[in-house]
Symmetry: C2
Subunit: 492 residues, 2 copies
């Protein structure tokens, strides 16, 4: 079977046996079946437990996979690791082609775990008889519909023992060696960024057999995926990884973001006790990351924030910046100064405005406070002038955007927006969104002000896929990664 | 008059004349009087406007300061800059000793502004007849009571034209060349961090006369101030600045945090059009910052986050870490790996546990998954063991803290806490807080989970001055600055 066919079997099985299914809602084997059923998995589900009788969520318990008459594509194991060899043998006998093993206690615990691994290698004949995802993982998730969609649009494949309750389908795929990114942290991020759409979430754990390589290859070819967010503690096959990243770079609407754990020796010690990953040479790690030319995130927060930014912009078919020429619109001089410093630090620049554009901009400003000749617009004096002339200051922002976006050099706009229910006249949000929707350059917002108003504005912007950030530096950094990605795409 | 006497006059005036007071609530001159009155300024307030009749908030309008019979300490100007020379002359004639000038249009607008400045220099005889704060500023604020305190505890001096509605008094003083940090952004931060107590907020603007130097000197001597948060676009007197910072280093419960704007040439161009600050040599800037050995923040968000951390720990008289030996408690191996990498990057370390401590820790853990020998505790297996033995897993966190804190080497604990209303048994928050309150080492939290639950837990921790953060790296960075500060304090 080709790699993509194997992964397809894992992501789109027609039938799933849940080994270790349980009536006890405190057990993971109960929650896996619950997740499959309540999220409308379209295929067959078989709860397996030799000591259980009757039904679970309306599905009849079987003692063993051998008691199932129909064909079974995938087995999800939620049993203690000692029970695995025997059950795996039965799965092979039944002709099941894929198994997800969620139990821990393998490479990461030393000798005993290694013995168990050797046993599995023998039983599966080096994974030629059945392919394995895990062990020490949180399963995989495929999201077809939104949790709050109309007509119960929920749908997909949910094999994690964590409970997913609020989610949205979208263009992001996750491959992670930390189950937290497929479980608790992912759920947190989906609540924090309710418009972040996730297509797949794959917890590869110790990657005894299947690894980042097979999933990466699949997602690069999958047109529903634009953004691939990866957390690795080790590289299974550095050469292949670099090759795949190179392939992804040739696809205009595909971006890979990587967090690499275990870069320092302290990190590698930690990783050994987590996924049993052996120490890698830190020079080699750096060389792999450099050659793969992926977007590197420093931590989980950045990973998801970057993924969200790319996800939003790809959905809106925004033209990505290539040179890093950006404009800033803010109502504070101090913000202008700090932004200018940060912009330089990130290798971006505020270009000088076209003469014709500047001549139009100057008209909006009072004589006593003309705008800068470079693309850093302190909009406050222009608003004051508008008010003096009894013009709605809320319209000024739109006019300034219009001018800046018409300057060919400027590849995007960064904005500070003060969100206040008392000063809504200064920020006609709907108007701003209309202006942005008519353009294909990225426009980012940093929101400050009243917390409640910020939430409201953020929600509005999210609905229109307009990236918005809680801090100035986050906004600048997220613009910078777009330029990074464009430069990477230009590499051979 | 000594510097401190002058600043005392500005911060604690017995009477204030508001020049440009207005009945129109859209005008700044109206809001200044409103802020003074509604926040219970204890001294006399005189609204001044040659074209107004009657009363404003129950206070009689005067045409000029010369019409006031009593002595006046301070004049707050909210008038167009052209009107300033004439009124300033009257203030001097009246014997007023201090003036806050909020209007802009001076050094930052070029030649005309410079002429106006020269005129003021002449009128004031180089500020010997009256001292000036500003121009181009948001005034100053002294907070004596909380906005939601009992028995209308509100109190202080509020001379900004921005409206302050939610605030708390505390041990932080702000000195800023960006009015935003004394206005909109400050209000945002006070809402975001409701337990962040602010003692003073001084907007020094173009610092034509009074600058960071005089305020810094005052706050270093003021025992109500522990943390001084500073934003500068230029150094008025580098030598004096370094000397004052050196003096502050000798005070155990005093920390200065600085954001310097205009470090790059692009930043300096921006700063010139903001506060008229002239370009400084970037090597020189670096040397000044290095010699002053203050905590440097990269941006406004960090400035306030760092200020909040120090503020909380000083209030609780926490023993600051000196070596950077820290422990991490988390329920995720991936977090452990990434934390270990970040810890190394910030120059901190997870020390090896004392043999006796380790021997006790190992008892809490299951045999199949013993803890690390170094201070990185993946607490999940211990919780699983507790549950198997029908012990409340919520008690495990407390026991682990107890052990770690008893290891003399360990100077503080970093925690990942998963906040979930469904899994409250795993985190007995009250219990955790009790444990922490019995210790004098810093204990930090990174909160993830259900947004609503995070807010609840964050509020509880805030009430006990326990620093908590929205991201892992923020948590680590904020621990790192404590170590930085201790090292700075050890310098001569």
């Amino acid at each position: 079977m080709s790699n993509n066919k194997i992964i397809d079997l894992f992501l789109n099985p027609k039938s799933v046996a849940v080994i270790g299914a349980s009536k006890n809602p405190m057990k993971g084997g109960n929650r896996i079946v619950d997740n499959l059923v309540s999220n409308n998995f379209k295929g067959k589900i078989y709860p397996i437990n030799p000591t259980s009788e009757g039904e679970l969520f309306g599905l009849e318990f079987k003692k063993s996979v051998l008691d199932i008459e129909e064909e079974v594509d995938l087995a999800v194991f939620y049993v203690p690791n000692r029970a695995i060899p025997h059950i795996l043998t039965e799965c092979i006998q039944k002709g099941i082609k894929g198994a997800i093993i969620e139990a821990s206690g393998f490479e990461e615990v030393g000798e005993k775990g290694l013995e168990l691994r050797d046993q599995i290698l023998k039983i599966t004949d080096n994974f030629s008889k059945i392919r394995i995802m895990g062990p020490n993982c949180m399963g995989l998730t495929r999201i077809d519909g939104d949790s709050n969609g109309k007509d119960n649009a929920k749908g997909g494949l949910f094999t994690s023992f964590g409970v997913f309750y609020k989610y949205k389908t979208g263009n992001v795929a996750i491959i992670s060696q930390s189950g937290m990114l497929n479980g608790g942290y992912l759920m947190y991020m989906m609540e924090k960024y309710p418009d972040l759409g996730i297509r797949y979430s794959c917890s590869i754990g110790n990657k005894m057999d299947l690894s980042e390589i097979e999933f990466l290859e699949y997602f690069i070819d999958d047109p529903t995926v634009n953004v691939i967010a990866v957390y690795l503690e080790s590289f299974k096959d550095p050469r292949k990884f670099i090759e795949l990243c190179k392939k992804a770079r040739k696809i205009p609407n595909k971006t890979i973001i990587l967090v690499k754990g275990g870069i320092t020796s302290q990190g590698q010690k930690a990783s050994l006790s987590h996924t049993g990953s052996l120490a890698e040479n830190s020079q080699l790690i750096k060389a792999i990351i450099k050659q793969s030319s992926v977007i590197q995130a420093r931590n989980f927060f950045e990973l998801f924030q970057f993924a969200r930014t790319f996800s939003m912009l790809y959905r809106e078919k925004i033209i990505m910046p290539k040179q890093g020429n950006v404009a800033l619109v803010a109502g504070s001089g101090g913000v202008g100064t700090i932004s200018a410093d940060l912009i330089v630090e990130y290798g971006l620049k505020f270009p000088n405005l076209d003469e014709s554009i500047y001549n139009k901009l100057i008209e909006i400003f009072p004589e006593w406070m003309p705008p800068n000749r470079f693309a850093l617009v302190d909009i406050w004096p222009a608003m004051e002038k508008a008010m003096m002339n009894e013009i709605n200051p809320g319209n000024i922002v739109g006019s300034v955007y219009e001018l800046l976006l018409n300057d060919d050099k400027i590849e995007g706009i960064l904005n500070m927006m003060f969100c206040s229910s008392r000063f809504r006249t200064f920020n006609n949000y709907e108007n701003v969104v209309d202006h942005i929707n008519n353009h294909s350059k990225p426009i980012f917002f940093w929101l400050i002000g009243e917390i409640r108003e910020i939430r409201k504005v953020s929600q509005l912007l999210n609905e229109h896929n307009i990236p918005n950030f809680p801090s100035l530096e986050d906004m600048i950094k997220n613009f910078w990664i777009l330029v990074q990605d464009s430069k990477n795409k230009n590499k051979s």
